[in-house]
Symmetry: C2
Subunit: 596 residues, 2 copies
Amino acid sequence: MSYSAPVKDMLFVMKELADIDSIAALPGHEDAGFDTAQAVVEEAARFCGEVLAPLNVAGDRTPSAWANGEVTTTPGFKAAFRQFAEGGWQGVIHPVDFGGQGLPKLIATPCIEALNSANLSFALCPLLTDGAIEALLTAGSDEQKALYLPKFIEGEWTGTMNLTEPQAGSDLALVRTRAEPQGDGTYKVFGTKIFITYGEHDMAKNIVHLVLARTPDAPEGVKGISLFLVPKFLVNEDGSLGARNDVHCVSIEHKLGIKASPTAVLQYGDHGGAIGYLIGEENRGLEYMFIMMNAARFAVGMQGVAVAERAYQQAVAYAKERVQSRPVDGSAKEPVTIIHHPDVRRMLSTMRAYTEGARALAYVAAAHSDFAHGHPDDAARKSHQAIYEYLVPIVKGFSTEMSVDVASLGVQVHGGMGFIEETGAAQHYRDARILPIYEGTTAIQANDLIGRKTVRDGGATAQALLAQIDQTIAALAEADGQPFKSMHRHLSAGSLSLARAVEFIVAKFKSDPNAVFAGSVPYLRLAGIVLAGWQMARAMIVAQAKRANDERFYSAKIATAEFFAEHILSLAPGIEASIVSANGREGVLALSEDQF
Amino acid sequence: MSYSAPVKDMLFVMKELADIDSIAALPGHEDAGFDTAQAVVEEAARFCGEVLAPLNVAGDRTPSAWANGEVTTTPGFKAAFRQFAEGGWQGVIHPVDFGGQGLPKLIATPCIEALNSANLSFALCPLLTDGAIEALLTAGSDEQKALYLPKFIEGEWTGTMNLTEPQAGSDLALVRTRAEPQGDGTYKVFGTKIFITYGEHDMAKNIVHLVLARTPDAPEGVKGISLFLVPKFLVNEDGSLGARNDVHCVSIEHKLGIKASPTAVLQYGDHGGAIGYLIGEENRGLEYMFIMMNAARFAVGMQGVAVAERAYQQAVAYAKERVQSRPVDGSAKEPVTIIHHPDVRRMLSTMRAYTEGARALAYVAAAHSDFAHGHPDDAARKSHQAIYEYLVPIVKGFSTEMSVDVASLGVQVHGGMGFIEETGAAQHYRDARILPIYEGTTAIQANDLIGRKTVRDGGATAQALLAQIDQTIAALAEADGQPFKSMHRHLSAGSLSLARAVEFIVAKFKSDPNAVFAGSVPYLRLAGIVLAGWQMARAMIVAQAKRANDERFYSAKIATAEFFAEHILSLAPGIEASIVSANGREGVLALSEDQF
């Protein structure tokens, strides 16, 4: 199946909802206006559609393979990665000083989307390298930056994140990998890391692992974790490669999906110790890792949008081609293509509405990140940062959960053919399933949303967003026509539900944490639906104003927004009931363990 | 992963909700009381747990394989099928006259559930044979019944249903397979059938295909379809096997799941014509097939319950074993098993509540079928039959759709391990995905629910059910305690939503069919949630009354019912908004084809 990036919608969101023009007015982003955005996105669309998309099925059928400690990636991946590197795609968002293009996150985001729609497994490699770059930019020494960042950005080397161990998944307090200081400033690292994406592969000359480990005297728990840089090949001062380090890939996993992306078990120090270099200060590893993770979590949220878009495109293509049954309204005597049947429409519209809503929310979040970094005003920066941080777990959790549902609908649209692997729809259903799990499960995102993002400021950021939503509701009230009436009704109800959920969570967090956390994922989902629905509401208002310029595009946007209101936002009050419970604790925690 | 049939819940539902005692009072079912039910279900549980469940993973890893027209099933399947046959399991529900046990459907249903939980792929073979038996009982000649039924029932031969062709999936009007009369009472059949479950295999001595085909002068469309019996080996008058017939398996599909179950492409008549025998009268094939399909659709609904139960059991086992993170309420200083975390509880409770609700609804439907067949009173039979027929598309559509969500939650409970195939959770996620597709997609079920089951009688059957729900609501109002208050609130709201949906559908069916059918699947889901929630409400009332007898079981039932109310029934009004739309048509059908 081919993939064609939805450039028009991407640019619409960037311009009309995420305010690229204001970002271009920030210091340092003078060249990052709409024209640049358009040029970059169109080139990304071309590259992803032509080079990466055709390799997506191949990656599923001929996964990465392990033999004797080495991993051979899917045929074609290595050459594609060279093209990716030469095109400068690894550096889009990274600093010019280290060879990047220094573009705003808002422009990088559609590129990431297209990359992941085209080839989710392939895109994971640069996604992890982005994380490593972020960590070094934040906490690396000048020498480390100078030695590693240009190599990452030019695509010579790639990066990994090593958090998980067999006993330490969501709970990093349980990390046992140890790092022993050698007295010369280096450490020797010993331990086993699992689930390491692209922990071993053949697409780059070196692989640089960022590894969570404990030094000998570190305190227990998460406050005793440090971050180390452990290259596969040691790096000489001039940047050339030295000896093979003592980190080895002992196996890769047999997975449900994203099969081209090798998921490695890495063994550190079985032959005397893997040489590692401390990043930043001892015992601050988790803090640095969170910086990487915020970027990575946002990116995984984009993977959700991306796989949903790909599944949607494939389902639409099939629905336009497959002929079956006469229309229910008797408008034709002969069987028609199934896109004419109301339930197929409902499924396609659900897929489309979720995808457009989640895209808009993510791009708007990216813009907040840009303002948080570049706005000249201190208070504005803080406020944008708070909103961005509130949105990251939602972008991650909501986009990925919906992507599973969207991919499942994609299979359903295909009927029996969807269950046959040759069709390709099933690959998206399998691939998407990891997204609500890695980089922090949806529950972990929801805990973050509740603890750090909602309760810590007493609900202030959530309230600020609700106040902005009220302005949109007021604008909807002034618009004519059923689509606007529907959106007004459901966005009003949804934002009230969200407000009550926030109030409940802030009020009960200390007195009844079990009741609050029992509603954590429903709260995340409610916030996602309301905030994405809000973006669809903003979009339909713009579309109405500009409708005459491009009837086809804008009328579709209005209809999709209406669909979002009537079929997705309408679920909000029901979800509220799962959060704001007179009886949350009893309902969810009433059973004793042995009653399960 | 092991499987242990939930015998206690099965028997509870049979006794307290589906009224097995009254079924035992029907003529011919004198021996089919609770004691018989208990003995049969316990034996089914033992056989399924010990013999079939251990083969489930093997079936996924070593699927059925095709070579030279023959299919070799997973090692162990053939021997297990012999045990199945010798245990008399094929005949549980079928007439004593042909070697069956003649037990009520209500007793057969938990057996079917256990069979499918234990091994979904294996269970498909008897499921299809059941369909063939039903068809012959309904429309076969006395000779056909005498020749084939005992062989089916003793497990010597198996049956298949041949509907689908490459161009004819949901739309059977497009069937092209032809049957030419030979003048001697037989026909020669020519054509290609696809997606034929167990269309070829090595577990039985003969395979008897029931095939939809057209005779030369048949009218166009569904009114020109006849049903033929085409055995793989021709059958002599004494029941011994004769010559190989001209039906050949040219390939099997490479599927997302249920891999042990061979899905065959069957070629009829490439070597002169496959000899076939007309079943019943010409051009009434679809009518007969619908009889098979009603039984098969109910059974596929049970597959949904079954895979949900299996996924639940696996997730519970993992959640009780995996240690990760301290409790959010600070009740322990050390990491605990994840079943102590509120969101894991929420996921497990969601899985459990859906499964128990869907089970109860399906068993109650089975009881209606028994009353419809055996009740001495004409009017009562008709009324039970109408309710059974209303419930069949709901049991099929609701149970299978929820099974996909439940299996997906099962993966999520496992975290990263869920994505690794060795864990086994992913198999359920893959296996379940076919259930909302085969034997009629959810949209086909929803169309049936709307057209034949709701509109045809002007909503009378739906209203009759709603009146029964009102009685339960009245009983809830008299009970004390938060669980009953919650259920009262959400069942009241849900039944109002369902009532309004029925009213809308009946009123608008002719004037605005697109608006009605755009809400068809949401209507089915709403009906499923409300009717399953109603069964949970009935269950909690019984549980309250009997609580002192078995605190552990009944308090769990009450808590699960409360969870169903607060987390599932609470969604009903939101779903209503997707059905009863001021603007259904514009929302779903507003886009032109080229806007997708």
